[in-house]
Amino acid sequence: MFTNLYQLNLKWIIRDRVLQALVGVALLLLVLVPAFSVLSMRQVQELSITLSLSFISFVLALLAILLGASSVWRDIEKRYTSAVLTLPYSRGSYLLGKFFAIAVCLVCSAAIFTLVAAVAISFSSGLYQSSLPIRWLHIFTAVAFDVLKYVLLVAIAILFSSISTSFFLPIFGTISLLLAGNASQEVFEYLTKDSVGVKTAKPLLYAAKGIYYLIPNLGAFNFKVSAIYPVALSSQGVIYTLLYFLVYTTIILYLAVYFFSRREFP
């Protein structure tokens, strides 16, 4: 049953012009990585990895926000809801079908990007021998957690869509949480540092803590450093982040289904 909705949404994504253009841009950027990298003279390999990971991350972010925020909104806007929500599906399957289709699309795009990036990085590193080895496993881990981060973002976009009638809350709400989520760890650490913590007013500190636990800690998904520099990958960090992803995404999706099931489509 649910696979129908999932396949339907995959078709939508694959036939979407915007998506095709975005993937095209991403591939073009990745192909140009060696050209950008030689500009750095010495750290060609390091720069090629940094650039590849950034390009991939940037395009995945765009995909997550655009697809996540537009999928439900578009169905309402074009009045597809009256046809599809009156089929014998629950509202929950409708939302989850969208979520999984977009998630799978992110995973597949990331896989293709990584493949192209791998070629670009190998080529770049051949241009100027680096003293460091390329640690592919670390690079793949960095991309994988980036994908998870954006899958979580898709869930957030769908939560916003499930309560909103317009395009604004899903788009700007998701972008705001992306920015806040990336910075939250640093802000929190700064505020709770002993020297600052004493000076900060107590209520403000509690508020900051509350917000810190509420908004997604997207900084935790950043494993780029160990992909570029000889820094060890913390297996504990990997496992905790994975668990965090599962719990946080489940809660968000649960809330989305809860609100969407109570919604009316007059």
Binding site: M1, N4, L8, K11, W12, R15, D16, K78, R79, Y80, T81, S82, A83, V84, L85, T86, L87, P88, Y89, S90, R262, E264, F265, P266
Partner: protein, 302 residues
């Protein structure tokens, strides 16, 4: 068997712009299996509101609806329904055939059956030529016919059609009327809304008339037509003596035929004279108010 049971259904919309709108008040209606029911009302009467509540798109403020005994809030209640939304709109990145495939699998149809039924309904709705083109390029009437095709696809027992004739040309309207008659012949239940009285007269067993969110009348179409008879036109061939008919209006036709009009009350008396005078009757034709005037009277009555 009750196909549809609506009890105390009410809907109040609360909006910022229009304030509180009493779209539907205390609707009670039972549609039995095999019946063609016309839900007739002017624009804004509450027809779509009722249908959306039945289909689970909106939550009633009060009351509930059962579909073949299953509450409308349960998605399973929709397994046996073919639904045509008002001014439908379907995923336009799919072709007509792909859309029907999606619908068929949503209703658990087996692949073989689905393929043959798809061709059948496309053919019936005269969409075979457009079947493999994206819905994006369909005209309004084509989308409406695709809407009917997707409602028919899984051969449900109950059809809920919101203004099925709207957006169609005269050929399309005739197509829909024939379709409804055909479904009725197969024992299906059809509940459809319309604001056109002639549609009701053409195909319905029963009609419910809704105005301003209130059900004003529910009756058999036949009995409304029967009650609406005001008099008769009678063509009589007389032997020449017309004095017996004094008091009745007539116009004389050539070839010795007199055309009388009698009110309903005087009909019996008139026929007795006919028998007495030993005349030949060529034609008896009831003169009646149609559903339209019945409808207009109800709408105007406050």
């Amino acid at each position: 068997m009750k196909a549809l049971e609506i009890t105390g259904l009410s809907k109040i919309y609360k909006t910022k712009k229009a304030g509180v709108v009493n779209a539907l008040s205390d609707l009670n209606l039972v549609i039995s299996s095999g019946e063609v029911f016309g839900f007739l009302g002017p624009n804004g009467a509450g027809k779509s509101t009722t249908i959306k509540a039945i289909m689970g798109l909106i939550k009633p403020s009060k009351g509930d609806a059962l579909i073949a005994g299953v509450p409308a809030s349960d998605p399973h209640s929709r397994l046996n329904i073919g639904y045509l939304p008002e001014n439908p709109s379907f995923y336009d990145f799919l072709t007509g055939r792909e859309y029907l495939y999606f619908i068929g699998t949503s209703f658990h149809m087996a692949d073989n059956l689905l393929k043959s039924r798809t061709n059948e309904v496309l053919d019936k709705m005269e969409l075979s030529l457009a079947a493999d083109r994206p819905i994006r390029g369909y005209s309004k009437g084509m989308v409406q016919r695709l809407g009917l095709a997707q409602a028919l696809l899984h051969d449900p027992e109950i059809y809920i059609l919101d203004e099925p004739m709207s957006g169609l040309d005269p050929l399309g309207r005739a197509l829909v009327k024939n379709l409804i008659k055909e479904l009725k012949a197969h024992g299906k239940t059809i509940f459809f809304s319309t604001h056109i009285t002639a549609d009701v007269e053409a195909v319905c067993d029963r009609v419910g008339i809704i105005v301003n969110g209130e059900l004003r009348a529910v009756d058999k179409v036949e009995s409304i037509l029967e009650k609406g008879i005001t008099g008769y036109n009678i063509h009589v061939r007389t032997g020449g003596d017309i004095s017996l008919f004094s008091g009745f209006d007539f116009t004389e036709r050539d070839s010795g035929i007199l055309e009388f009009y009698t009110s309903r009350a005087l009909f019996k008396q008139f026929m007795e004279i006919v028998v007495h005078a030993n005349c030949e009757v060529d034609l008896v034709e009831p003169v009646r108010k149609n559903i339209e005037s019945f409808f207009l009277e109800l709408v105007e009555k406050r």
